[in-house]
């Protein structure tokens, strides 16, 4: 792995978008994308939590789990780190920035169960990233997720009043739009490959 952290950052947004190529974070993606404002809010919260937890989890994994030889506990530890961090952010925001708390705060509990967050931590371990690469990957994945949910929210708003076959209303239609978006993103995939 000699990829520049900068390259990983861009690859995580475009060529290996966490949502469109790895299918992570679908649940909240489908349910929140009805409105553009809440999509931006959730997307920003995801980006923030993803960047910081990938850094924390990297440190925890390489300086605690590996030396103690308890790598098999990584799932539990990662989940605890994520949940604890989300809880902490919520409390800090509530205390110091009520304004930000009201725009982002309601999305924070949703994030603990967003599989993209745990996924980023697991991918960075599997791909053996360095610290800088891991943080870049976390930030890029978060922004990629934000980009994807924003596009979907925009398209859904445009076609809200159009005719759609009854069986396809809701999740079915969102999935088809996402599929077309994924096709478009496949176009980027020749530029750089991160595995």
């Amino acid at each position: 792995m000699e990829l520049n952290a900068f390259i990983i950052f861009f690859a995580a947004i475009f060529t290996s978008n966490i949502l469109l190529t790895n299918f992570l974070g679908m649940c909240s993606f489908l349910s929140v994308s009805k409105e553009i404002e809440s999509s931006i809010g959730l997307g920003m919260a995801v980006t923030f939590v993803m960047t910081v937890t990938s850094a924390i989890n990297y440190v925890v994994y390489h300086f605690i789990l590996v030396p103690l030889d308890i790598i098999y506990l990584q799932y539990i530890i990662f989940i605890i780190v994520i949940a604890a961090f989300v809880q902490l952010t919520e409390m800090v925001l509530e205390r110091f920035s009520p304004l930000l708390y009201y725009s982002l705060g309601i999305f924070l509990p949703l994030i603990t169960v967003n599989c993209a967050i745990l996924g980023v931590s697991l991918f960075m371990i599997i791909r053996d990233y360095s610290f800088l690469q891991a943080v870049a990957y976390g930030a890029g994945s978060g922004l990629g997720w934000l980009l994807a949910i924003l596009i979907l929210a925009g398209i859904r708003k445009k076609i809200k009043d159009k005719y759609v076959p009854t069986g396809l209303v809701g999740a079915g239609l969102s999935l088809i739009i996402t599929g077309i978006m994924a096709l478009a993103f496949v176009g980027f995939s020749g530029i750089v490959v991160i595995q």
Partner: protein, 197 residues
């Protein structure tokens, strides 16, 4: 509720994937091969059944405020068992599933069943509910995987079905087709229901 009823409700009529759109992250990710889908499905059945059993057993003693955390930790413990089992006995499959085994923890189906069923019902019923929901999930995975593997690789479970004349549709192996396949499946299943009702 009778045992059989519980099973059928959670496996078919209230199928987590097509009725409630839960747990689709992994449903999309592993379905390019039948074998991966089957293993994933078995892992989810195992986790669902046993975490349902455990949560139902101690449901009286879990404080309400930290309920989610306790449930997550119970689920994570079972996922670790699945992961270690695969790593030891089927390292190849474990490698190709990658992080998706670990991601069973955040699979919304398991949390959903824990919240909606295991927290309120007896341990035995919870096991049946878990197995039912898991089977329903596996069924969806296998349906999608059968189409994707057949067209994408010309094989089923790695056994060549279509001969050399078949031009492999590489789009079926890639990400977009997973979205389309699931959308079509949901469309087909929801259409007659809405006409009647």
């Amino acid at each position: 509720m009778k045992k059989k009823e519980i099973f059928i409700t959670s496996a078919f009529t209230q199928n987590s994937v097509w009725r409630q759109i839960l747990g689709i992250c992994s449903a999309l990710a592993v379905t390019n091969l039948m074998l991966n889908s089957l293993v994933m499905g078995l892992g989810v059945i195992f986790t669902l059944a046993l975490s349902g059993f455990t949560i139902s057993l101690i449901r009286e003693y879990i404080p309400k405020r930290i309920r989610m955390m306790v449930q997550t930790l119970i689920i994570a413990s079972y996922v670790i068992i699945v992961d270690l089992f695969l790593k030891t006995f089927y390292p190849e499959i474990s490698k190709s599933l990658g992080p998706y085994v670990g991601l069973i923890i955040t699979n919304c189906i398991i949390m959903g069943r824990a919240e909606a069923f295991a927290g309120k019902n007896s341990p035995v019923d919870s096991v049946i509910d878990g197995i039912g929901a898991g089977m329903g999930y596996t069924l969806v995975l296998l349906i999608i995987a059968s189409v994707r593997e057949l067209f994408g690789f010309g094989s089923l479970f790695g056994i060549p079905i279509l001969g050399d004349w078949w031009t492999k549709w590489s789009i079926m192996v890639m990400a977009p087709s997973a979205f389309f396949m699931l959308a079509i499946l949901i469309w087909i299943i929801n259409t007659p229901r809405q006409k009647r009702g």
